[in-house]
Amino acid sequence: MAAVESPVTAPAPGWGRRLPADERIFMWLVLASVVVMSAFTVGWLFLGRQNVPASFERTTPAAWGAKVSAFAAKYQRADGRVHVPPGKEAYMMALRYAFYPTLVLEAGHSYRLWISSEDVLHGFSVVGGGQNINLEVSPNHAYGATFTPAKPGRYLIVCNELCGLQHERMQGFIYVER
């Protein structure tokens, strides 16, 4: 290795010469790891099952509110919950401080869940249950994600974007029945 130079004085002339072998080998190793990680990430988009099949479209709070209300009225039962038939799309609204409506799904079926926000930015995070849905919900955008609950039970959804002074109360459940 070359003599150590002070970082507080200007370098000696000739500092721009070709890097010594140890630095060059290190650079190649680092570069190779970046290439490998990049290949895995991009490859996984096509080969893996961990991608969230989410898509979005533009909307407005008023238009989305009307859509969610119509959907809820159609499938709401006496228990106040909205029972979504398998294969149907479900529409939800995030608003301070709740998720509306409360959905009931059937285990083993895939659903397309659409959600937008009525007021501010919210989070839509399904906690546990082997799910990986965790989205930033914004007014003027509707987010759609495919949700396939394998087991019956109660799936916790929490808002994880600071949305106001009672943010910690914003949570809900998706009920999954057999």
Binding site: S6, F26, H167
Partner: protein, 519 residues
């Protein structure tokens, strides 16, 4: 030996009071010295404020304590972000700008008046920000995503602070030009000044993006415009927030080199390698702001993967290079001094030196944070970590473990050198560095655990989960870890204040900047 004293360039310099440093042999002018010190003191006070907010938050989130009510919690959350993530590092970086452009180049500042004006604006902005947060009128998080709206003085505080930083950058740049014209340096800059110049370029980009985000948000808070599109705001805000974090990373690397230089007389093994790594930060930082939007609507998957993930992997490269150069430079220096064997040089380092303790902990924690950041910048894994406790785990490893600890270690050298007083209770300072590192390691571990359970960040209560019982333990332990780190942080503030007031006056180089080389 390349560690020569720089050639004096005093001929064309005026009458301002100055002295020659007994440790470095550099000429130090009274004006830049006072300005550096003022910024460093403001930084330490901001860190103290950020620490108080942070501990209050952590003890609120510990389910067994729940110290604050929700309203006070969200105020503390905002104050913690503002003070610890913005004010503390930026004040310290401005101190570094003044120091590296004047003292290291043996020149006076381009304009002391502009320097003090910049300081006054930054203090005024900081006062506005913290005042309105404590008053409870800005509990929107330091990110302040619209349509959430804070009191207009909050945005004004950000803008006034930003203008102050802008003036500091202008003063820094013109001081470099002046030094060049006076012949203080030819060719390239000394490495530390070069690194700070890279940080200043990134800070300039951050401020421009911040103005585009915050001016409309300010007008919105005044009711002058009807709405701000939240997704667009997030884009410009993270142009500020993300880039600013890389200002912190670059300044941290400069502090690493500074500590190694002053304690071990070590420098980079190769100047070209190191400078290339600094340039990579400038080239790669900005696109990586995309990793904040991996689960946002509004951007296509292609943009997210390329900008957020792939550039994000690339941005790890310069940090790895600096990690090699700092450690390798220290090894090379100690081998020059006679260390033998594969690891003999490691035994030649005095780990009882406070700045070395801070450097070691900073390197380790930054490596952990770099790993967790790489995990969450991956488009598939971000879906699991986004806005969970994983994020504060990453941020605390990088910004507190990495940057803050490195700044602390550098401050243990810089402040005694500036005020010509020995560090107050150096053994306590050593204990402080390791205790802070340990507390942060525990904090990061518990926060990562909480993140893997899906516990959201930024909520005042966690007793709401589907299985609340499993959420209690990591969050209680997180509170304990934060208390330990907070105690060590308070020790740092005490040591700094006592050094300023009570440190033993001396010109003895072995007391002002004790060597960390063991025979």
């Amino acid at each position: 030996m390349a560690y020569a004293q720089p050639a004096p360039v005093l001929a064309r310099i005026g009458e301002e009071r100055s002295r020659v440093c007994s440790v470095t042999g550099l000429r130090v002018y009274a004006g830049p010295q006072a300005l550096t010190l003022a910024n460093a003191v403001a930084a330490v006070l901001a860190l103290a404020a950020g620490g108080v907010f942070g501990i209050a938050m952590a003890l609120t989130r510990a389910p067994s304590l729940e110290l604050l009510g929700s309203k006070a919690y969200y105020a503390a959350l905002t104050g913690h972000g503002v003070a610890a993530l913005v004010l503390w590092p930026v004040f310290f970086e401005v101190a570094a700008m003044v120091f590296t452009s004047t003292v290291l180049l043996n020149v006076r500042a381009w304009s002391l008046k502009v320097g003090w004006a910049s300081f006054a604006l930054m203090v005024a902005g900081a006062g506005l920000l913290l005042g309105i947060v404590v008053a409870g009128h800005a509990s929107v998080g330091f990110t302040a995503y619209p349509p959430l709206v804070a009191h207009q003085l909050f945005y004004l505080g950000y803008l006034v602070f930003a203008v102050g930083v802008l003036l500091a950058i202008v003063n820094f740049a013109l001081t470099l030009v002046k030094a060049r014209l006076e012949g203080a340096y030819a060719g390239t800059l000394p490495l530390l000044t070069y690194g700070v110049a890279v940080a200043a370029i990134l800070a300039l980009l951050a401020i421009v993006s911040g103005l585009v985000a915050l001016v409309p948000a300010w007008l919105y808070s005044l009711g002058w415009i009807g709405s701000v599109e939240p997704i667009v705001y997030r884009g410009w805000f993270w142009g500020l927030g993300h880039t600013l974090q890389y200002v912190n990373v670059v300044a941290m690397v400069v502090a690493w080199y500074g500590i190694a230089a002053l304690t071990l007389k070590a420098g980079p093994v190769n100047q070209k390698f190191t400078r290339f790594a600094f340039v990579l930060y400038v080239l790669l930082t900005v696109p990586v702001l995309g990793h904040h939007f991996l689960v946002d609507p509004g951007l296509s998957t292609d943009v997210k993967v390329v900008g957020g993930t792939l550039f994000g992997f690339g941005l790890g490269v310069p940090s790895l290079m600096h990690g090699l150069a700092v450690i390798g430079g220290s090894e090379a220096r100690l081998r020059e001094r006679g260390a033998t064997g594969l690891f003999g040089w490691l035994r030649r380092v005095d780990y009882g030196n406070a700045s070395i303790g801070a450097l070691v902990c900073s390197l380790l924690l930054f490596a952990i944070g770099g790993w967790s950041g790489t995990v969450e910048t991956t488009v598939q894994l971000n879906m699991l970590t986004h806005n969970t406790m994983w994020v504060p785990a990453h941020v605390h490893a990088i910004v507190v473990g990495g940057t803050t600890l490195a700044f602390m270690g550098f401050a243990y050298l810089l402040v005694p050198l500036l005020v010509r007083r020995q560090l107050w209770m150096p053994k306590l300072a050593t204990a402080q560095a390791y205790l802070y590192g340990l507390g942060l390691l525990a904090l990061v571990a518990t926060q990562t655990w909480a993140g893997m359970l899906g516990i959201p960040r930024r909520v005042s209560r966690v007793d709401v989960g589907a299985d609340p019982h499993s959420w209690r333990l990591p969050m209680d332990l997180m509170g304990a870890a934060a208390s330990l780190a907070g105690l060590a942080g308070a020790l740092f503030v005490v040591i700094m204040v006592m050094t300023l007031l009570r440190g033993k006056r001396t010109e003895d180089a072995s007391l002002l900047a004790p060597s960390a080389e063991r025979a």
